[in-house]
Symmetry: C2
Subunit: 282 residues, 2 copies
């Protein structure tokens, strides 16, 4: 009779939890079936957990889309999922952790979207790939303005990014897509010298640091090409950013499309990419 129900001790409630360390909470994969065989298939429970996490993230995104902000309320997410808010803390220790994961996901999504677009075209179609990458970037931003804002806006109000955390790395992974476009182009030999060839020593030194090592197609870019790559990124991002945030609203949509194409063409041309003179691309 001393103990007649699960949990702790007989009803006499609150006995401050003994030194047992606080919570083995998050990100633990406790209780793996046996112990050996690291690469074991995930437990049934683990799969359920992963599915729930995914559902939470999708619900969060859906709510952000609906409300048009990067704000999100645990209570809303929970209600949408038919749960109560505190339950979410089983999966994310707080709002920031969820946000961080969403940001990482956004980078990945952008990265793969752009990569897919790039790889749909033959490797030697430099201008085609340039345009495809740019358009994929733009379309993604138009399709998912909130995710775009997550990545490229100031941190959400209360949010503080984990120092040197996963977001930084995710960012580089996404950027890599653009850089590899230039790497391939440079390697192909079809690339002319860019319009601006003067490169400051500091910028040149910067190229050296930039070792994503390993990948063969990714040896250091020529200095002026690296610079041109950054220019292109700025132009591309600037256009997309202004458009996404509504600062081009005074320009009618078709004109925006044309303007975008011409901006991309300018960036590519200035970077030394060949551009077909017939109207094939614009």
């Amino acid at each position: 009779m001393i103990n007649d129900y699960p949990g702790v001790s007989g009803r006499r409630t609150i006995e401050p939890p003994p030194p047992e360390e606080l919570s083995p909470r998050l990100n633990t994969t406790p209780h793996a079936p046996k112990d050996a065989d690291q690469a074991e298939r995930p437990t049934r429970r683990e799969r359920a957990r992963a599915a729930t996490i995914e559902e939470i993230k999708q619900t969060a995104l859906q709510l952000m889309r609906e409300h048009g902000t990067t704000d999100l309320r645990f209570s809303d997410i929970a209600r949408e999922m038919g749960m109560t808010a505190p339950a979410l803390y089983r999966y994310f220790s707080d709002r920031d952790e969820l946000l961080t994961e969403l940001i990482v996901d956004a980078y990945d999504d952008l990265g793969t979207t752009v990569a897919d677009a790039r790889e749909k075209l033959p490797r030697d179609d430099l201008s085609g790939r340039f345009l495809a990458v740019s358009q994929a970037y733009r379309e993604w931003a138009k399709r998912e303005p909130q995710q775009f804002a997550l990545i490229f806006g100031l941190p959400v109000p209360g949010y503080v990014a984990p120092e040197e955390g996963p977001t930084t790395e995710a960012a580089r992974r996404a950027m890599w897509q653009l850089k590899s476009l230039f790497s391939e182009a440079a390697a192909s030999g079809q690339l002319r010298r860019p319009l601006i060839q003067d490169v400051d020593d500091a910028v040149a030194a910067c190229v050296m640091f930039d070792e994503d090592a390993g990948d063969p197609s990714l040896r250091p870019l020529p200095e002026d090409t690296f610079q041109a790559c950054m220019h292109s990124w700025a132009t591309l991002h600037g256009f997309v950013s202004l458009e996404t945030y509504g600062h081009f609203d005074f320009v009618p949509p078709e004109a925006r499309d044309a303007l975008f194409t011409s901006a991309v063409r300018l960036a590519a041309t200035a970077a030394g990419f060949p551009w077909p003179t017939d109207g094939a691309l614009s």
Copy 2:
């Protein structure tokens, strides 16, 4: 005994306010000294009120700077000012109204900062002015990243922009600075044809709409120049935006400076601005 608890009738406190219309609250300038003489000097009270409003805004900005977000709490502002939070509602009907004013102020600040920089150089120094405007834009963003985010980020979480409200207009005013740079250049006759001269009909039509009428130096730009102006804005904004939000952190500061200058030079050159060949500007 039928009713003996507060809120309804017992205690008979609350007597729902008689039809007196709700609140003559904000933005009223009630009780002007006499009535005639519209252009009267502001009342002592009016001045005090204006000063308080200004102090609130400055405090808000300061807090945003300190916390590094665009978030702001009425309670913090009030505490900082040695007041209680509800007092602020005498001056702003809610958080959004304060935010809106801050956004408008930010546009104005950016606009005048850029304008000042532009006018420091002689009218015929086209490339100098181009660089000065660009640098002013960049420096402002670096100096006031939160205000930059207010203008160019997605609306702050809970915030919904007033439809077609004051912010839209303020945005145009700031943009005007860049456009007039191109107008003057076009008028001066020193401007070469831009690098990209193909202009889609939709874009061309767009130029026509763009009548800031009145100002003589602002007659419609040549179509391709208008297009180049938009390109320049995109490049400038893209660079500044990426840098401000930390996406260039992997580039050391001096390299960033050089990269910026070269990007501006690219934009200017592509737009047809003359650029000195000696190292004067870069």
